[in-house]
């Protein structure tokens, strides 16, 4: 039996019926990534996702960076970064930054739970398709890993002016970004939708 997938890079039809566990398929013509099969992918996705939720909750509740110069001390929290842009006259940009580093990642994480949990438990959840659509549309727009690098750059920029200390939140957010990236990398678009379809057609 053949299982056909069309390459998103060049439209070639490729038969991936003999793809083995833990193997990924790339297009033989253009080299574009096709899919990757892991029998326990959803297990991993849910595990990374739960870890990511806990870490993000931590990251939002403690100081991210603290700064002291001449006896004056100030701290920054994670929501404070976009918040400051809103406060100092750039509400649109603030909203955009909030979306990239907090809102979209939170939505992606929640959608991941809504998709991976029913697939793992074999539950025919009514929201499965709409959640998966949202998930695959939003995932391109999350910038958590970019923000981590930006924090390190900021640190060096003002290190000569004052003492800057990384807070608990920074480490939580860095760990969150690792779990988040792993969850996204493990969740394969093609395999996920095949599972959704298999669940719906099963008796």
């Amino acid at each position: 039996m053949s299982e056909l997938i069309a390459c998103h890079g060049c439209d070639l039809l490729v038969d991936i019926s003999d793809l083995e566990d833990n193997c990924r398929a790339n297009c033989p013509r253009c080299g574009h990534y096709l899919t990757r099969f892991q029998h326990d992918a959803m297990n991993r996705v849910l595990a990374y996702t739960i870890a990511a939720i806990i870490l993000l909750a931590l990251a939002c509740s403690f100081p991210f960076l603290s700064f002291s110069a001449g006896g004056i001390e100030s701290v920054m929290t994670l929501p404070g970064a976009p918040g400051s842009l809103i406060l100092y006259g750039m509400p649109t940009l603030g909203a955009l930054v909030a979306a990239f580093i907090i809102i979209i990642p939170v939505m992606v994480i929640l959608l991941m739970v809504l998709v991976s949990a029913p697939l793992l438990l074999g539950l025919r959840a009514p929201w499965l398709r709409i959640a998966a659509r949202g998930l695959f549309t939003l995932q391109t727009w999350s910038m958590v890993e970019v923000f981590i690098i930006a924090v390190i750059v900021s640190l060096v920029k003002i290190a000569s002016l004052a003492t800057v200390v990384l807070g608990i939140s920074f480490w939580a957010y860095a760990a969150f970004s690792i779990c988040f990236t792993l969850a996204l990398a493990t969740l394969d678009r093609y395999q996920c939708w095949e599972m959704i379809e298999a669940l719906d057609t099963a008796k």
Binding site: G9, C10, L13, D15, M90, A132, V146, A150, V153, E197
Partner: protein, 208 residues
């Protein structure tokens, strides 16, 4: 894994861009996920080109206007993106200067140039290097969001350092234009359909 030697179009199949299901080209919506089906991204080249021109125009104010305003005891200083890189070099933070320079100058320029070249190569029906150009597209698509570093740095510094009269940072107008460049180029990369490069194999064959 075996190539069938034919494309989805050859078999009148449309590949859903959301869920990868193959459906007959007569269908308008994907039966699996409900997304709109199209054989190729609609008006891909025109849309990509329009967005690239927009990004190039936005890139000018992004570099000319200040991205951050610093208020200190001696008054206020404004810094542009390149100004920020120069200051970092002067204080000796070469690696960080390199990170900012690559993220804010090299990446957007390389991405815009690469995308212009890809659009040009499709419109001129360039035959050579399809595989390399597909690779170039994947890289251009991937690197885009890293340009946001500088805007995030501004957000962090503004949030962290607010010592009135002593030292305070405020966002500059270029932060807007620069985020515009990043957003518009990301949408441009999504609008470009790399399959157009490969479609010409068939078209050329039929033409000759």
């Amino acid at each position: 894994m075996n190539s069938t030697g034919v494309t989805a179009v050859d078999r009148d199949l449309a590949n859903c861009h959301v869920c990868c299901k193959l459906s007959s080209t007569t269908m308008h919506f994907c039966p699996r996920c409900g997304s709109t089906l199209h054989l190729r991204t609609t008006n891909s080249l025109q849309r990509t080109l329009a967005l690239l021109i927009t990004a190039s125009i936005l890139y000018i104010p992004a570099n000319l206007y200040p991205i951050m305003v610093t208020e200190h005891t001696g008054g206020t200083t404004v810094s542009t993106i390149m100004g920020g890189v120069v200051v970092l070099v002067q204080i000796g933070s070469i690696p960080i200067a390199a990170v900012i320079f690559i993220a804010s100058v090299v990446v957007p320029m390389a991405k815009i140039t690469a995308m212009f070249y890809l659009v040009w190569s499709v419109s001129r029906r360039v035959k050579e290097g399809r595989r390399q150009r597909t690779k170039l597209y994947v890289i251009a698509e991937f690197i885009g969001k890293w340009s946001m570093i500088d805007v995030f740095v501004v957000a962090i510094l503004v949030a962290l350092v607010q010592l009135k009269g002593l030292l305070a940072f405020y966002p500059g107008i270029a932060a807007y234009s620069f985020s515009g460049v990043v957003l518009v180029t990301m949408v441009a990369a999504e609008s470009f359909d790399p399959r157009l490069m490969w479609d010409q194999i068939k078209n050329n064959h039929h033409g000759s």
